[in-house]
Amino acid sequence: VNQLAMASKFRFGAILSSKLDYNFIHSAAPLQNRAIVEKKNIFKKLKHGKVRIGGRDGTGRKSVGCRGGGHKRLYRLIDFVRAPLVESGPKTAPLPVDIVKSKVLAIEYDPNRSARIAQVADMKRKYILAPIGLEAGDIITASRGPPTSLADIQRGDAYPLQHLPIGTIVHNIELVPGKGGQLVRSAGTSAQIIRKEKGEVRRLNTHGTYVTRPGKVVVIRMPSGTDRPINADCMGTVGRLSNENHKHRILGKAGRMRWLGWRPRMKKKFVVKVR
């Protein structure tokens, strides 16, 4: 099943319900776990088993090298969407926009990513990516509409990029509205909003295909230093991601890489190219 069709299913499911019963599992599921996600539509628990791929693709042959082994991991279901997308058609009246307020219960460790995750509760229990400084007891908001006031924006809040002021530091940025955050999700990373302008915008069509149309664009400076234009309706979470000392860690021995699922890597001069 195509990832595009999955994204389209999510989007129109959100329009029909327009409430908090969205299925955030369809958002940005990693390629390796697509098979597991498609089987189970509704999860009762937030963790499930993860198959260790080892760099092999659907045919069973090695497509990526130096992968294999490592400690067993349980996959945590993360909410990358934060607020469901609600769009009305051209002939219908505009639907109300939901404001999702939730309370942080605890900050936990996730073996599947470098950043930490936060357990959050409103109508259900969820996991989100934890920014620096988020503590248990904080209340965070997310909505597809504008915030009540710019002074109320705190770390952990998620709003569309067009409603955030220029200069704010964001993470977990969407590329397609409603699909879920895809950019800037690693530990200690952050992006900055530079300017807002008009340009070509990428959106999902009703048939599930990508379409470029003129619209509002927000230019963002990525952690690599490059500037990237993004659809202004895409969501971004305010703040910098946790575990900023991740890049300064010292592994100490080869065995620690093996625990993380990396097999030994040969130097380039010893690699023989097979024609």
Partner: protein, 317 residues
């Protein structure tokens, strides 16, 4: 607490409980027997190497009640109660557009022919009107609850017309080997006690849903154990109207993580016996009995005993 529209009272414990001075004689008499009960449940009451929570928990509670019943010659009202082992509790109510139900067999239920005197005065009950209640914030109160399709029954295990209709205490005995947090146990106790009192108000007193119990609020106790730690809940039902946040609220007194003893060894016996726990346990179960009203039979027996012992002493002399 939010689901049952209940709030904490100002006092740590209810004032209508019997005081330590009035119970002193009974407490001193029975303390030795209670220590024997503990040793029997923890050291001698099983064949395996370690006492499982199933055995020592249940045997402790039952033996403690039997030890208390030895005072029946002095206070015959102690035996004028019924103890049921598997009372089926069922209740349901509407709370802020959520239909909540309680089902289960929580434990042992001690019932009396007359209701308990309410723990709080009318003034304190009236002061709950101004209290807004618990603020949960964005977290919904039904977050971890699951939906089921069930019949909307309201019972507490007894048919109408039973001789012991009013509940006195509920004993919840934790039989799981993994230790549970006290907050989980306390929520069990509050929900079950509310459901039981609701069933009594609707079935016995013939009240209607949405009514307030201004003149005759209902009260009951719950005692929860895991074999060593005890928790005491005193619940008073003031309203049956839980749809809104306005009006009277129900009152709760809680005392949790009270140890009955520290350790038990074969040679040394009970180490660090919990006086506070023993006093609380006694006061909850004796609550409702007039301690000054000793039976005449006991007095005559005491006089006879003294008379006989005097004669024997004289004969020896």
């Amino acid at each position: 607490m939010h689901l049952t529209k209940s709030i904490f009272s100002r006092d740590p414990l209810p004032r209508t409980l019997p005081t330590q001075e009035s119970m002193q004689s009974i407490a001193e008499e029975l303390q030795g027997y209670i220590k024997d009960c503990i040793i029997q449940s923890r050291v001698y009451g099983y064949k395996e190497k370690i006492a499982k929570r199933d055995y020592h928990n249940i045997s402790l509670t039952q033996n403690m009640l039997r030890v208390l019943s030895t005072q029946a010659c002095k206070y015959p009202e102690l035996l004028d109660r019924s103890l049921t082992f598997k009372s089926i509790v069922a209740g349901n109510w509407w709370r802020n557009q959520h239909h909540i139900a309680v089902r289960g067999c929580p434990g042992y239920l001690l019932c009396t022919p007359q209701p308990l005197t309410p723990f709080a005065d009318k003034n304190e009950v009236r002061s709950t009107l101004n209290n807004p209640g618990q603020d949960l914030g964005p977290v919904s109160p039904i977050i971890d609850m699951s939906e089921y399709q069930i019949e909307p029954n309201i019972t507490y295990g007894f048919h109408p017309g039973s001789p012991y209709p009013y509940p006195h205490t509920l004993f919840i005995v934790d039989r799981k080997t993994k230790s549970r947090p006290t907050s989980q146990m306390l929520s069990h106790g509050i929900m079950y006690s509310h459901a039981i009192l609701r069933a009594v108000a609707l079935n016995v007193l013939k009240m209607e849903v949405g009514q307030e119990l201004k003149d005759h609020p209902l009260a009951m106790n719950t005692i929860m154990t895991n074999g060593r730690m005890f928790a005491f809940i005193y619940y008073q039902l003031n309203t049956l109207n839980l749809e809104d946040d306005d009006g009277l609220k129900n009152l709760v007194w809680i005392k949790h993580t009270v140890p009955l003893f520290g350790k038990v060894k074969k040679k040394e016996g009970v180490i660090r016996f919990g006086q506070e726990c023993w006093q609380l346990w006694l006061s909850t179960i004796i609550n409702g009995i007039d301690l000054q009203n000793i039976s005449e039979e006991y007095r005559t027996m005491q006089q006879l005993y003294n008379h006989e012992s005097d004669q024997k002493m004289k004969a020896v002399a």
